[in-house]
């Protein structure tokens, strides 16, 4: 059977006045039913643009998909016209965004915003849709759900807003759920609740989930597999356990080193990765990470490492890692 989501060689380019920039460069990724794949990397490495490419919601201009396939339950949706995508967004793919407060329309009630997605994809009547919206709010653990239907978003907390967004995303039982930093804007305690909720909803429905985050702590809790992105390219892919145990790419190792560990000795200073993500229009000739890499070799500055498979289930794009 076809996987719920299979991305092959997806490339998205930004066409700007200062030239073309490859924001997503040949990304491949597959997510099985009930599986969670985390997409990890610093800000500006192309995580969100990858997600928006899959949704075909890129700001065009300047961004456009220039190559690759996005297979949804076996069907490539990249060539679909916009009308075809309308039936897919919200129905087959649900998406959750980073800032729940600004993700909801301030002048529409919670009910209207949930009912809208139901009416777009089902033939529920107005009252049935309202009843279903109520069910959905209870499903996502909204306290006092019946009353919240008539509230406007500004009366809700960030966590409650995110529950509404989640309710909208899962309203039509999509097979794929994309969560773009769903907990970043939330308080720590609320983060844990939202993560637990997402895990539960996913397990119950067997959804394939793409979880975009820069927080490796969250990755460890939620993901089955991890794809590490740097400057628009996948640099490493592994299962969560393998990745945290033996990160192969120096960038992955840097990210893990920069994550605070609870209970670690206080005096121990967090490691950081020197330098910044290079601008997309000024990528170095060889490996994009070379200028910041602690294990950089002469070869890294000349040619770009391709993804190789040093062990089953692992992929890495690094010359140093190949040598071990």
């Amino acid at each position: 059977m076809a996987l719920p989501l299979e991305v092959r060689g997806l490339s998205t380019t930004l066409f700007t006045r200062r030239g073309e920039m490859k924001a997503v460069d040949g990304l491949s990724l597959s997510v099985g039913a009930g599986e969670t794949v985390a997409l990890v990397g610093e800000s500006g490495c192309g995580k969100s643009l990858s997600a928006l490419s899959v949704m075909r919601l890129l700001p065009d201009p300047p961004a456009r998909i220039v190559g690759g396939e996005v297979r949804l339950n076996g069907r490539d949706i990249v060539p679909l016209p916009e009308e075809g995508m309308l039936a897919i967004r919200g129905k087959e793919i649900g998406m959750i965004f980073q800032d729940p407060m600004s993700s909801l329309n301030p002048v529409a009630t919670v009910e209207k915003q949930i009912v809208e997605v139901l009416r777009a994809h089902t033939d529920l009547g107005r009252w049935q849709a309202r009843a279903r919206a109520h069910e959905l709010l209870e499903l996502v653990g909204m306290p006092d759900a019946a009353r919240r239907l008539d509230e406007y978003p500004h009366r809700l907390s960030g966590g409650m807003c995110q529950r509404v967004v989640i309710a909208m995303a899962i309203a039509c039982s999509p097979s794929v759920l994309i969560a773009d930093e769903p907990t970043t804007a939330l308080d720590v305690t609320v983060q844990a609740q939202v993560l637990a909720l997402l895990k539960k909803l996913q397990a119950d429905a067997g959804m394939a989930m793409v979880f975009i985050t820069h927080d490796l702590g969250v990755v460890a809790e939620t993901a089955d597999r991890v794809v590490v992105m740097y400057a628009g390219r996948k640099v490493e892919e592994a299962t969560v356990d393998e990745l945290f145990e033996t990160p192969l790419h120096p960038y992955t190792a840097g990210l893990i080193g920069a994550t605070p560990v609870p209970g670690a000795a206080r005096a121990e200073r967090l490691a950081d990765i020197p330098g910044m993500v290079p601008p997309l229009n000024g990528l170095p000739q060889g490996c994009a990470f070379a200028p910041r890499c602690p294990r950089v070799m002469e070869r890294c500055r000349q040619e770009r490492p391709e993804l190789t498979q040093p062990a089953t289930g692992r992929l890495v794009a690094c010359f140093a890692a190949e040598r071990g």
Binding site: L57, M95, V107, E116, A120, A146, L149, Y152, M168, S173
Partner: protein
């Protein structure tokens, strides 16, 4: 997931907006209370300003009627209370206003309120039709321009808006008359009704509407130009917001998103400037009324100023301020209805 749940009965319907209705009433009450000192200020300032103007209506009146008998003049001065000190006149005026007595118009020999109330409906009609036209045309043009941004239609809207914004309304009025009345003969040159025509029933209403078209265009297109520009940029700004992307991610089409999510949010700045402009619409109607011989308060004001009929001038100022204040309260309520985030503490 949720689909497996048994479908329960519809949740209890909560009377939506009952708390908002309370809030709206509270806003109304607060604005009405605030209006009292505001009106008092308007009366005092206008009264003092008119006292500063040279000459009094008495001089004009006696000169016109060639009255030179000092006893008659003294009698008139007492009759109109002109011998009192200014502050006492002011206090008496305010006291009279509280009983809705605006004084007496010597010119027409009727109470001021009667003189104004003959003309006020025509002005209100012109104001309302102009604002309605401005909102409808401006908002529609702004929406079209924003949806077809950087295309021919966008440019067309921009150029038209620039033109109507820059054209002086009296000039525009004259040009409209030249084109539609003189050259084409489609619409009347001026006035509010055909002389000797039917003035009652549906025919009368149609006749008034027929006369209303040109003045409405002359006054309203200027504001339509402003609203078109504001609406366009507001639509483009709102279209960038996160919740628009959320709506698109739900599978709504671009048009659905524009209508049900962008439009209402984008209207807010238009409503804001609408409130601010109420006063200028009234002032603008004075000019347009004289161009089109529209029998409104504007022409009465013009006559009253030139005949130094100050009680009428003052009365128009006061009633005009009342209209503007009332319109602003209405705008506040509309704003509140559009944006639930506005709550009065």
């Amino acid at each position: 997931m949720a689909g497996e749940l048994a479908s329960p009965a519809a949740p209890p319907r909560i009377t939506r907006g009952s708390s908002r209705r309370v809030a709206a009433l509270r806003l109304l009450r607060r604005r009405l209370i605030q209006a009292v000192p505001l009106m008092l200020g308007v009366v005092v300032i206008n009264f003092v300003l008119i006292q500063l103007a040279p000459g009094s209506f008495l001089e004009l009146m006696t000169a016109e009627n060639q009255v030179s008998d000092p006893a008659t003049i003294a009698l008139l001065r007492t009759t109109y209370g002109l011998d009192d000190p200014v502050w006492l006149q002011l206090v008496k005026y305010i006291w009279a206003l509280m009983r809705f007595d605006f004084g007496f118009s010597y010119r027409q020999n009727i109470p001021v309120i009667d003189a104004i109330s003959v003309h006020l409906p025509a002005t209100l009609l012109l104001m309302i039709s102009s604002i309605t036209l401005a909102l409808a045309v401006g908002v529609a043009a702004g929406v079209v321009a924003s949806m077809k941004v950087r295309t021919f239609w966008d440019t067309l809207v921009s150029v038209a808006a620039m033109f109507f914004f820059a054209a002086p309304s009296f000039w525009l009025g004259i040009m409209l008359i030249v084109l539609f009345s003189v050259k084409l003969g489609w619409l009347p040159v001026g006035g509010m009704a055909t002389i000797g025509g039917t003035s009652s029933g549906a025919g009368g209403v149609l006749d008034i509407l027929h006369h209303l078209i040109l003045p409405t265009l002359a006054l309203g297109l200027f504001y339509a130009a402003i609203y078109a520009r504001v609406m366009r940029s507001s639509m483009l700004e709102v279209a960038q917001l996160d919740f628009v992307r959320t709506a698109r991610a739900k599978g709504l089409s671009r048009n659905q998103v524009t209508i049900s999510h962008v439009l209402r949010n984008a209207l807010l700045p238009v409503v804001t400037i609408l409130g601010v402009q109420m006063g200028t619409v009234l002032a603008g109607s004075v000019v347009i009324e004289s161009v089109f011989s529209w029998p409104g308060v504007g022409s009465l004001l013009f006559d009253s100023v030139s005949s130094r009929n100050y009680p009428v001038v003052l009365g128009i100022m006061v009633l005009g301020s009342l209209v503007v204040i009332a319109a602003n309260i209405a705008v506040d309520l509309i704003y509140m209805w559009l944006d639930p985030r506005i709550e009065i503490r």
